[in-house]
Every structure is written in C-alpha cells, then in structure tokens.
Amino acid sequence: MDPRTITTKERLAIPRQVMPAQDPTLRINNFQEVHLGLTPELAQMEALRCIQCKDPVCIQGCPVNIKIDQFIRLIAEGDFLGAARKVKEDNVLPAICGRVCPQEDQCEKVCVIGKKREPVAIGNLERFVGDYERLTGQRVDPAIAPSTGRKVAVVGSGPAGLSCANDLAQFGHKVVVFEALHELGGVLMYGIPEFRLPKEIVRDELDGLRRMGIEFRTDVVVGRTITIDELMEEEEFDAVFIGVGAGLPWFMGIPGENLVGVLAANEFLTRVNLMKAYDFPRSDTPVFDCKGKSVAVFGGGNTAMDAVRTAKRLGAEHAYIVYRRSEAEMPAREEEIHHAQKEGVEFQLLTVPLEFIGDEQARLTGVRCQMMELGEPDESGRRKPVPVQGSEFVIPIDMAVISIGNGSNPLIKQTTPDIEVSKKETIVVDINTMETSKENVYAGGDIVTGGATVILAMGAGRKAAAAINEKLMGTTKGFKEW
C-alpha cells in the first residue's frame, strides 16, 4: 500500500500489528526481553493505520508532546531515521519510553482510531525508531547550540535528570550529572528489570548523551559528598536540577514484618538488576534463593509486577501477587499484568495480609490473610476494600516482597534546609518552572511527585531545563554577555 494514495477506509481495515514476543514457557527461564520488537515491515504496516488527524489529540496525550502524527507518517514512508529525528526533537530516549511508558493511559488512550477499533500502536512504533537507530548504528545526534559559558549541575541520572541534562546541553550549557551509585541510569538500571528494559539500551542512550558533551560523575552522593551550596559556591554551577527519585520503601506495619525472608521490592530488584544477583556467584551479591520456593509480592503496581516476574525467573514454584482490591483497580500497566498472568503468576486478589508467620529461627513460613470485598469508592475514586468476616486463611511462603510504594530520600532535606519540602517530604516546586524555594535550584521527578512514571519524570526534567535556560539567559533572546 502506498502511503501517498491510501484511503482512510483502507487504513481502518488494517488490524493492529502484533509485536512478536518470547513464548511465556521459554521466557520464565531467562531474563531476556519479552517483546522482540516490530520488523520494518510490521512497523510500516502499523504506521499506515494512523489516519493523520488534522488535530492530533495523541500529542496532547503525551507528557512531552512528541509530534506523533509526523513521526508515524515518516515511518509509513519508510524514512525510519527521519522518524527517529522527529521523535528526538521532543524525547531523547525513544527506545526506553517506547518500552516503559503507559501509552494505554496517554497517547493511545485518546487515539481516534481507538474509539471503535484498537488504537494505533504508538508506543511500539516509538520503540521501533529508537531500536532502528541503535541497531543500524546510524546515530541521530541532536544539534547543540554554541556554548553559553553557563554551567548546570544535574543531581541524579535517572529519567528526570537525563532528560533535563539533554535539553540543557542542547541549549549550549555545560552540564555535569552527579550519580550516587556506581552505575548511571537510576531506576532504569536498578529498578526496571532486564526483561522489560535491556540495560544495553540504557547504556547506549547514555553514550549518546556523552557524545553531546555531558559529563557524568558516579559515586557522588549530593548532600553528603558535596552539598548543593558547595556546588553553587565552590564549583560555580549557575543552577542545579535535583532529580534524585523516590526514597526508602514503605512497609505495611503488620506483625512479623521483621522475619528473615521479608524484604522490600527496592532491595529485591536492586540486588537482581543493579548488582546482577541472578548471576551469583559470578557476581558477588546474592539474592534470596527462590528455586522451588513460594514467593508472595504485596502490591499491585508496576514494581510489584517486576518483582513477581523476577521471582518467577529466579525459579519460584509459586509466585503470588497479593493485592487488596481487584484487578481493575491495579495501578500496574495492563500489559504487565497480562504478561505476569501468562508467565504463571498466581493472583490472590481482594486479599490483605494480617500477619507474617515464622519458625523458631525467625524465618518466614507463611502469611495470614483476610479476604476483602469492594465497597463504596474512596477518595482515590477506587472502590474501597472492606474485610469479609471469618475469611482468614494462611498462604505458606518462603519470601515476601513488599511493594506498596516509597517515601522520599531525606538527604537533600537534611543537608539543604532552605529547600522547602511537603509533609510527605517531597520537594515543593513552582509547577510552571520547577524551581524550588531556593533560587536557581530546580527539582522534578519522583522527588517532587512521589512515585510516578518514567515519562512524567522526563517531562518534569524538560520543563525545568526550559525554565533554567530562560533564567540563565535572561528573558531576552540571545546570549548574555560573558
């Protein structure tokens, strides 16, 4: 079909193209990516489904307003690198966002085609252009403005920090990114598992940022190794962006939570992803031996799905999701829930844990639970779970992973008291500029919103970069005398 002559009727007749995936029975034995990506033929066919709306609402559905109609048209025309260039005008990390964005709640949710049929697979197409660029080795590096002589420090190398650093570098500012861990990428490296986001892709995107002249320094805990005041006064940074992400995990506060075998999802995933515990003993860091064991993950978000699917891959015989509401209320992406179901994860819904049970050596042996039923909607709009009397039961388990969310990292607050924080200890910002109560210090991502998504963090990073640029360069166009 010729993209120049195809009629709307013909476009609408094309079914949504299915992205090839590893078979569930195979993939539970490995950590390789589940989806294998669209072929160029499949991508072009999918791109033809887009009817090229005059007023593309999908763009409004995207937190960073990618010119979706335009990049999809370029794919349909076979200009894949042109499409990559178009996406990268608004999003520097297409291979990552194409994989981890909740498109079904954003661009694809508002897609006009989706009203009667399945929406255009915008996420899969975004992923395709990012992968095409990487796999063919034909880099599309963005243009960089001449040096402004201004220096900006970015704290944290996760999604917020990287998108902020990218835009600042394009504006011509010198950017140094500080990372507390030994590895760059933040949650993209320690949190999201390999089977959902191969680490090679993150490293490749980081290489792209290095080529733009962005400098990265690992092993620097801002607040401890160097404070924000020192960055500005001694290291002469003109502005600082804080994108340090979420902090310490929450626990449920039920009896037995201290037993050996109860751990937070952050710890479980950090061991496996960042410290490569799946490769123990070749890698030094061990993780709870799941082989043949029963593992329960408490929570219904994406992190819970990541944890339970990881446990399955580490050989767990039973891997449960224990969630107090029903599947409809789960905050995890539908796709992740379906993947987990296909991989044999057992969903114990409408269930709350009451107590963890252990043996005489304080090792976890089970969890006592209670069934719930859904009552009236609560303040979140979701129907509130109410306990069913007399419904208590015990699930025998060897490991429990708590995945009910995170608090905020206290280090910035402790060491930079003039940055205002909320009751929840998230950093307070002006929502138009992302500037904090401390002049020339900006913040974005989970440290501002609490646990959210990669793309929202990236959107915040971009917004801050624009505001920083405006502030540093004055409101008039052109560069300030230096």
Partner: protein, 281 residues
C-alpha cells in the same frame, strides 16, 4: 577509581588502608562510613571511616577479613585501585560534652569506636576507653586510643594482655567502683553490644551502639539495612548507623544478618577455589 596510598596489617587478618578520596576526607565526621566496591561484579559493602587527612586528601579504613570482599580487600596493597568508594554516609555521631564518656571497642569494632572516642575527647569529655580482643595479638590501635583517652584499658578474653575478661566486666567494675559515667559508646560484635546495653540499662546510662546490618546501596534507597529500634523500622544507612542501645532489637539484627550465610560461604569458597587454581597455573 580510588588509589590505595598505604596498606598495613595491624594484626592477623586486620588491615589498615589509607585511600585517596579528597572529597570524602574533607567532609567526613566521626561515625560516618563509606560504601566500597572493589571491582566490576563486586558487592557493595560498608566500612566505617576510622580517620581522615583533609590536607593529604585521604581517608583511613580498617578491615577484618570476614567474607569474600573483606578478604579480597585485605589482599590489596599500596598502589592498587578500588573501583568505587562512596561517602561519607550515615548520620555523624552525636557529640557533646557529656562529662565522663566510656568508649568500648570489641575486636575490629575498636577501629569504628576510635574516631568517635577522639571526637568525644575533643568535645571536652573525660574519656575512658576499653578495648577488648580475644588475645594479645589481636589488640589494635592501642597507642591511638591511649592518645585520645584519659584512662585506657585493654581486655583480653584469655588474659594474655591487660584485664583478664570481657569488656563488660571491666565496665561493670568501673560502675561498681562508684565512678559517675554519663555516656557509653559500644561498638563490636552483636553479642558484645547487647551485653553492654544490659550492663548500662539498670543505671540509665545513655548508651549508643553502631549497627552493621547488610547494606546494598547504602544511600537511602533500597531499604535493605532496616533495623528495629524502639519497635520502629529505622534505616541504618540514613537514620544510623548509631542508635540508642537500650532501644535496639539485637536479636532481630542477628537473625537478619544471617540471611545470606549459605550464599556468603558459597561465594567465599568459589573464590578461594579460583585463587587456588590461578596459583597452580
């Protein structure tokens, strides 16, 4: 990469390192620690900063070979490079002029107690140090401790040097002699810290201990180092590592520190096997 400037054994299996880390040297306060990672695929593990020289840009750490990583560290020499050193982490020791302060170090815990003892002395306290070891050959930092103490005692379990007995016996003796003790810091193996807490509890003497739970990131992210203090969850990497000894659930700490015993042994043995193989070649 962080260069080792000097490396000397203080006792069998206990080695002292000076490491080039100018920013950490400038910033560190008593009671803080660093996370180390010796090589790619290495684990991250915490060690308390024993001392620092801001002018030279070095920090001092003292390690006892106990698991794979600390043993590997103790095989490193001056000039070798450590892949990652991050810090200074943790909340610094709370230092004030309490009056009479007793610093108790058990085994390699003496190295952790030393910087806080020095800071207590500098704050004007009358400092009594009690440093225990199994036997004379394992006594470390004797001179350093003397230099920051108004009274310094050594105890050995086998009586081969100093006071014959445990640190708690020496502490009890001081209390029984009618000395007014205002503050106790105890750092060492979990049973020792627990025993000190029980000695001071009836007298209501404020007692702090430095806890050593398993850590992974050490920067306030993963939650691996949670400990139970006063029936609440606290995180040693940001809320600690020092906590009120009378509030700490030591049994829980000991139980949780055993989680990976089997794996630690396996890792250690796999490594020892490789070392033997490469020695043969």
């Amino acid at each position: 990469m962080y260069r080792i400037v000097s490396a000397i054994f203080l006792a069998e299996n206990i080695k002292k390192f000076e490491i080039e880390a100018p920013r950490i040297a400038k910033k560190r306060k008593a009671g803080q620690f660093v996370m180390l990672r010796l090589e790619e695929n290495g684990e991250r593990f915490p060690l308390t900063i024993a001392d620092s020289d801001p002018e030279k840009g070095t920090i001092t750490i003292i390690a006892q070979g106990a698991g794979k990583s600390t043993r590997a560290l103790n095989r490193m020499e001056a000039g070798d490079m450590i892949t990652d050193v991050v810090g200074p982490l943790g909340t610094p020791s709370h230092i004030e002029n309490f009056g009479t302060a007793v610093s108790i170090g058990g085994g390699v815990g003496t190295a952790i107690a030393y910087p806080t003892a020095a800071a207590l002395k500098a704050a004007g306290n009358y400092v009594i140090t009690i440093n225990g070891a199994r036997t004379r050959d394992l006594v470390i930092l004797e001179e350093e401790m003397k230099a920051v103490s108004d009274e310094a005692y050594i105890t050995t379990d086998d009586g081969s040097y100093g006071f014959n007995g445990f640190v708690t016996q020496k502490l009890q003796e001081l209390i029984d002699s009618g000395r007014k003790i205002d503050f106790v810091l105890a750092i060492g193996p979990i049973p020792m810290m627990k025993a000190v807490a029980e000695v001071t509890r009836p007298y209501g003497i404020k007692t702090m201990v430095s806890l050593n739970p398993i850590m992974i990131d050490g920067t306030g992210m993963c939650g691996g180092c949670r400990v139970t203090v006063g029936n609440e969850i606290r995180f040693a990497c940001v809320d600690g590592p020092e906590f009120d000894a009378h509030q700490v659930d030591f049994k829980n700490l000991a139980d949780r520190n055993r989680i990976y015993q089997k794996e630690e042994k396996e890792s250690d043995e796999a490594h020892a096997h490789q070392c033997r193989l490469s020695a043969q070649m």
